[in-house]
């Protein structure tokens, strides 16, 4: 009998654990059925927009690429991918092309997931649409970068689940623009007038971007779009009270992580947080522009303006003070830029450095001023004024000059900045820059160059205004760029890896 006891025991063990082999993950989200409430949608929107702070977009690779491709910032180091940006010899293998492309499409797909997911959320249009409108805005924000960089790009308005999307062709630039406008119009209609943080899209953000989109579409000569850009910018300007936006009295505040969130000037910003999130989801633009070998910045001295750029700024213009770091403390001694190399560091340069990122990176920045909590402005009120001014000049609007002078007037205020060694100092008001009495398009573009210096705007201005042959000639701020070729260098090559995967992608 004993024997059978054992046999039964074994059979029990042997039969244990028959399974259907189905997987039931506990801590993973299934996209099907995830979106049930507006909070779920908001999580998708925050997911979409947070991609923009990543090192692959505004944390470094796109922001620095836009600086290097402009006539304002030179390369102080020699990495091939950055050299290509600076000399306009960009290949499809360049990571500064590929990584932003990849990351921007992550933002787009997250936005598309929200827009599709909203169909399953049972809410009134009046509750639902103001939320979803943020996703439309995010999608437009990302495609606007793509279309300005690459021209024709693959366009998707829903999450891609069908593998046949592997062989799509590029959507023509004009169609991409039409979709961007349609998204921004939806956003303009449904977004609220004011928002709890400028990192959330608002009605003013949608309108301001629409104005910039129209200005870009106008190119050098399209009067219809100049008119639309002017009208849309003026809508923002006229309703600035409703939208709670205005110029900040102190230009330095715009580049101060501690003060920027209270400022009325940013219209749309990115939410840089106070952590260094994984996958490089944090800022490294500051160290890229910082002085090397000094006591404070310990920067990487990569993106540095030429002397000619510095010399093109009026020394009495407060914006010069705010935009450039001309002094540094090295070995305990404060020196000016002619002595930056006394640090002995081989990569240091005796030139003024960009100050907009390094001067006030906020309390959370780590070594080299990485991982700032500074919510960088993507579009701010001064730019809207300059859009109105530029489009206004083009259509002959009389108030164009006023918008420009409003920007210059603020610069004369002076304000609270620092000198070398980051000692706080009040800069008194100045008579520079004086108001202009009449303006040309070039005046506005020059004003944009000074006002928006190093903010990632200049390359797009050069492209839309087709300024390359002038600014990259021997008379340009960076001297002659022999590799510049206007017939092909305005468009960024689509990443070669993507073309290898889908040979139909040509632009």
């Amino acid at each position: 009998m004993n024997t059978y006891k054992y046999i039964l025991l074994f059979m029990g063990i042997a039969l244990m654990g028959c399974s259907d082999l189905e997987e039931s993950p506990i801590a993973l989200l299934d996209p099907d059925g995830y979106f049930q409430t507006t909070e779920d949608l908001q999580a998708g929107i925050d997911g979409s927009l947070t991609h923009a702070i990543n090192e692959e977009i505004w944390g470094r690779k796109l922001s620095i690429a836009l600086m290097l491709r402009s006539d304002m910032v030179n390369l102080q180091s020699s990495q091939t991918r950055r050299v290509e940006m600076n000399t306009h010899t960009i290949t499809g293998d360049n990571e500064m092309v590929y990584d932003p492309w990849k990351r921007i499409y992550l933002g787009i797909s997250a936005a598309n997931t929200v827009i599709q997911g909203a169909n399953g959320v049972n809410e009134e249009e009046s509750v639902l649409n103001p939320i979803v409108a943020q996703a439309y805005f995010a999608r437009a924000f990302y495609y606007f970068h793509l279309v300005r960089l690459f021209g024709d790009v693959p366009y998707f308005d829903e999450p891609i689940s069908d593998i046949s999307a592997k062989s799509v062709s590029c959507t023509p630039e004009a169609e991409v623009y039409a979709n961007i406008i349609s998204d921004l119009e939806f956003a303009e209609e449904w977004l609220p007038n004011t928002v709890s943080t400028r990192a959330k899209p608002s009605k003013a953000a949608a309108k301001s971007y629409l104005a910039l989109v129209y200005l870009t579409m106008a190119g050098t000569s399209d009067a219809t779009y100049f008119q639309m850009a002017y009208d849309k910018a003026k809508e923002v300007i006229t309703n600035k009270g409703t939208y709670d936006i205005d110029l900040d009295p102190d230009f330095q505040t715009l580049f101060n992580a501690n003060l920027i969130d209270a400022s009325k000037e940013p219209i749309f910003a990115l939410d840089y947080n106070n952590v260094e999130a994984p996958n490089n989801a944090y800022d490294q633009t500051a160290p890229m522009t910082g002085i090397r070998g000094d006591d404070d910045d310990q920067g990487w001295s990569v993106a540095v303006p030429t002397m000619a750029v510095y010399d093109s700024f009026d020394p009495d213009d407060y914006r010069t003070r705010v935009s450039f770091q001309t002094e540094a403390t090295i070995g305990g001694t404060t020196v000016d830029y002619t002595n930056f190399t006394i640090s002995g560091h081989g990569d240091a340069a005796n030139q003024p450095y960009i100050a907009k990122y390094t001067r006030y990176p906020g309390p959370y920045a780590r070594g080299n001023k990485r991982a700032t909590s500074h919510n960088y402005s993507m579009i701010r009120y001064a730019e809207v004024l300059l859009i109105a001014a530029e489009a206004g000049v083009e259509i002959g609007a009389a108030d164009a000059v006023d918008f420009l002078n409003e920007v210059r007037e603020r610069a004369r205020n002076g304000g609270n900045s620092t000198n070398g060694g980051y000692v706080e100092e009040t800069v008194p008001a100045s008579s520079v820059p004086a108001d202009l009495t009449s303006i040309t398009v070039d005046d506005v573009l020059e004003e944009r160059r000074i006002e928006l210096a190093f903010e990632g705007k200049r390359w797009y201005d050069i492209k839309r205004r087709q300024l390359g042959d002038v600014v990259f000639s021997a008379s340009g701020y960076e001297g002659d760029k022999p590799d510049w070729n206007a017939s092909e260098d305005y468009d960024t090559p689509i990443p070669q890896d993507e073309i290898d995967r889908n040979p139909n992608l040509t632009n």
Binding site: I13, L28, L106, S161, A199, A277, S343, G344, G367, R501
Partner: protein
Amino acid sequence: MNLKIKLTLLTLFSSVMLFAQSGITIKGTVVSATDNVPIPGVNVIVQNSTNGTTTDFDGNYQISVKKGDVIQFSYIGFVTKSITIGDQSTLNVSLSEDLAELEEIVVVGYGARKKSDLTGSVSAVKADELTAFPVLDAEQALQGRAAGVNVQSNNGGEPGAPISVRIRGNTSINASSAPLIVVDGFVGASMPQPGDIQSIQVLKDASATAIYGSQGANGVVMVTTKKGRSGKINIEVNSNYSIQSTANKLDLLNADDFTDYQNAVRQNVALTNGNTPTPYVRGDFDTDWQDLIYRTGNTQNHQLSVSGGSEKMKFYLSGTYFQQDGVLINSDYERVSVLANLDAQVTDKLQLGANLTTNVSQKAGVTTQSNGSVTVGGDDVVSLAMRFDPNKGIYDANGNFSTNDLIGDPVDNPWAVATQRDDDTEIENFRANFFANYDILEGLTFKTTFGLSSRNTFRGIYMPRTLIVTASGVNGRAIIDEDKTNSVLTESYLTYNKEIGKGILTLLGGYSFQKTTNKGSYSEGTGTIRDSFSYYGLYTATNLINGEGGDIYFNEREIQSFFGRVNFDYDDKYLFTATVRRDGSSSFAANEKYATFPSAALGWKVSNEDFLKDNNVISNLKLRGSYGVTGTQSIPAYQSLAILSSLYASSNGETVAAVTPFQNANPNLKWESSYQTNVGLDLGLLNNAISLSLDYYNIDTKDVLMVDNSIPDYFGLLNSNIITNAGEINNKGFEISLNTRNISKEDFSWTTDFVFSKNKNTATKLINGDDYFRNGAPSYFSVNNTSLLREGEEVGLFWGFDYAGVYQGGDLPAGTATLPNGVAGDPLFYDIDESGDITNDDRTIIGNPNPDFTWGLTNTFTYKNIDLNIFFQGSEGGQIFNMTNVQLNNGDANTTYDYYNSAWTATNTNTNQPRVGNNSSREMSSRFVEDGSYVRLKNLAIGYTFDTSIIEKLGMERLRLSVSGQNLLTFTDYSGLDPEVNYFGSAGDNNTSSNTVKGFDFGNYPTVRSFTFSLSAKF
């Protein structure tokens, strides 16, 4: 023939007397020729009859025979003797030990076979080879010992570094190619301590591995631990102590030369960028950072085992203590292990047993091979010691640790990183396996096992404020990483044995179920309240760093299987084996839950045929052939499901929920299948004084799991690394295993063991035929695509610029160009795309890390009481990408005298080394690809075994003392520290089990040279 064996034999073979036929009665005693001790249990058979008996406890037998009969005396481990009966009535026989036969029982999946009956390809490694010199992990001892097996430390001589084992090459690209380890029948176990291992068998061909189905494609390492035997209780003590030092050091510039070098670099850089050079001013120190971080290390290993038992109950108990102080300051390792094996004969038919083992290890590490958590490799002690400014002291003028603030990237000094940073890992392994064996009928046995294993890992890392660059800005950084894996396994199978005429049929059928659960968490924070809290201060962190979903995880996997095997041996000449396993796995997609893996093999013992039977030269000749299918299923759970990922986001200063698409569903994801053909030959000459095994194999792996790089990134998925069954890999190779007894005299013997392995690993099909790149460089090098997978090429070729020498100024040599702004002295490269510039489009294949062949050669000599073991191991033809020199020749770090003295200058133009401070920025080019062939004296050991007469008084049965040296000599042309390189990179494309990124050298923990004193005693 000692008492212990006697008792064992008694237990195994209780005498069975058969009734004798009419005739004369012969009686006698059978003894061992070696020591004249009687052998119990010897089979005594009258040939061509059913008449037979066995010897009793005292080796005596008695049998009825007729005159002219031939009596055959046979026993495992001894040469069979046949004697024709004449007129005698007493026949005393002495059997000599058969050295070749001693190892002949080979453990295969769900059973054991005599080696001579094997049809598959199996390499065996003996216990004494595993303990010939101290190793932390028994897998290390397989290097150069088993043909077809390649072994490498993942990080040189780091205490506690993982070991990578590859059997017959890599069959996978993304899935792990680590072999399945089966310990005493437990599938997927961790390795026992070397001293507790009785034997290791490496199953290589499909005939041997297909019984493990979807887990068998990478080969199977079958480990059998030591078991108790009935009889006297044995106590064994094995102790060894090693002193260790770095085998090598780079010859780096001293402070004066470094100052000259830096000024030359700056002058030259100015030629490129037009800036005015900043003079480099000589500092107050002259520090040899390598000297500061290295020390004399030591290892000690002590094992105590007790074994014995009665007929009813046998046991083996063992405890092992291993401790190592690494040659890098602050790198230590300590481990305690316990093993208990119990066997109980409950009834005549029922046997129960248990294997229990546990070990706890603690590793205090310093970071080598930076994982990228600190930018610019600032946590990587070995490479920092090479890079760091020799003009700096440990401390600066303010008493802080000095930083690299005059050249290159800001990093903390290596001494500070090594001493200030905590990196502790504690691992607990536990495994229990219970089994029952029941003889249902004659020839029919049922066996069932039930086991569980668990592995818990705790890792804490802390970077204190004293690290100026790394952690002072954030007020300390703390990381705690915990991981827990549990596995439950139950297997049951029936084995049936039947003699059918001249044939022997063995059938096996069974069922297996295994469930593995893995969970863990990773937490990181900055701003701790006190450095003295170390990583435990994480709870005080003011700033917690959240992850993108991968930081807290839970995975569960189930595998259920049915398996069967048929063996049919006919006339001891013809062997046939067929196996099949049907596996279901939860980690495969909905449409592909089950797979079937068959195999078949034939063997022909040619030497048992009449025409060879009495051949004096050929004592053994067997031909083997097999074909079968095995699988790899080691991809993560949930890989086939659509997933939305959470990621870190904030809004208005608050952390908010955020999601983004992670991956799309992949309902067709399944296992990889390897179709393997094996042809082998076993040859024994001169009574097996020479035994040779040759194997040729061809493995076509299909449905190889690959990252589908054909999915464009505009799909917008965070994990664009969608794994799909797309690739094909071929491995073909040739293995030689040669063992010779060159001299076998009473006082002097000499044996030689030689293994040779040649494998060629080719990517035969990739998605759309596309090239597939990986990055093996440190992330701060800012380069990509250093390793290539291309259809028709070997796996893991180096990719980069093809160096064409130094530009001498003037016209560029045809077909070459420089990087932008090239001047005389700058590196020249072949302009592959003929664009006139060197851009990323000029990259091409520049090297091959795969060796042509590897080999091991062991010579063992014994003279009286002295034994000498010399073990060489080598690798031929593989290339190394010397990324250490990429960094050291870049101008922003210290450099070698070799480069400093040979670099191009206006007066030294006849050189292949470009000027210092040239226009390249850590370019990946053939300039840094070197031959990595080597021959290494892995072990040289001399031992002395005391005469029993001396040690008996001490109550000992055996006492052996030995002195040995490891890695004493290395012959190589490689200019780096060590040709056994395995940098696993910080760019995220590589890890410790990578198959595609290999052959890179950068900041490895150095391989060590050791001197070892060992004592082995048995009581």
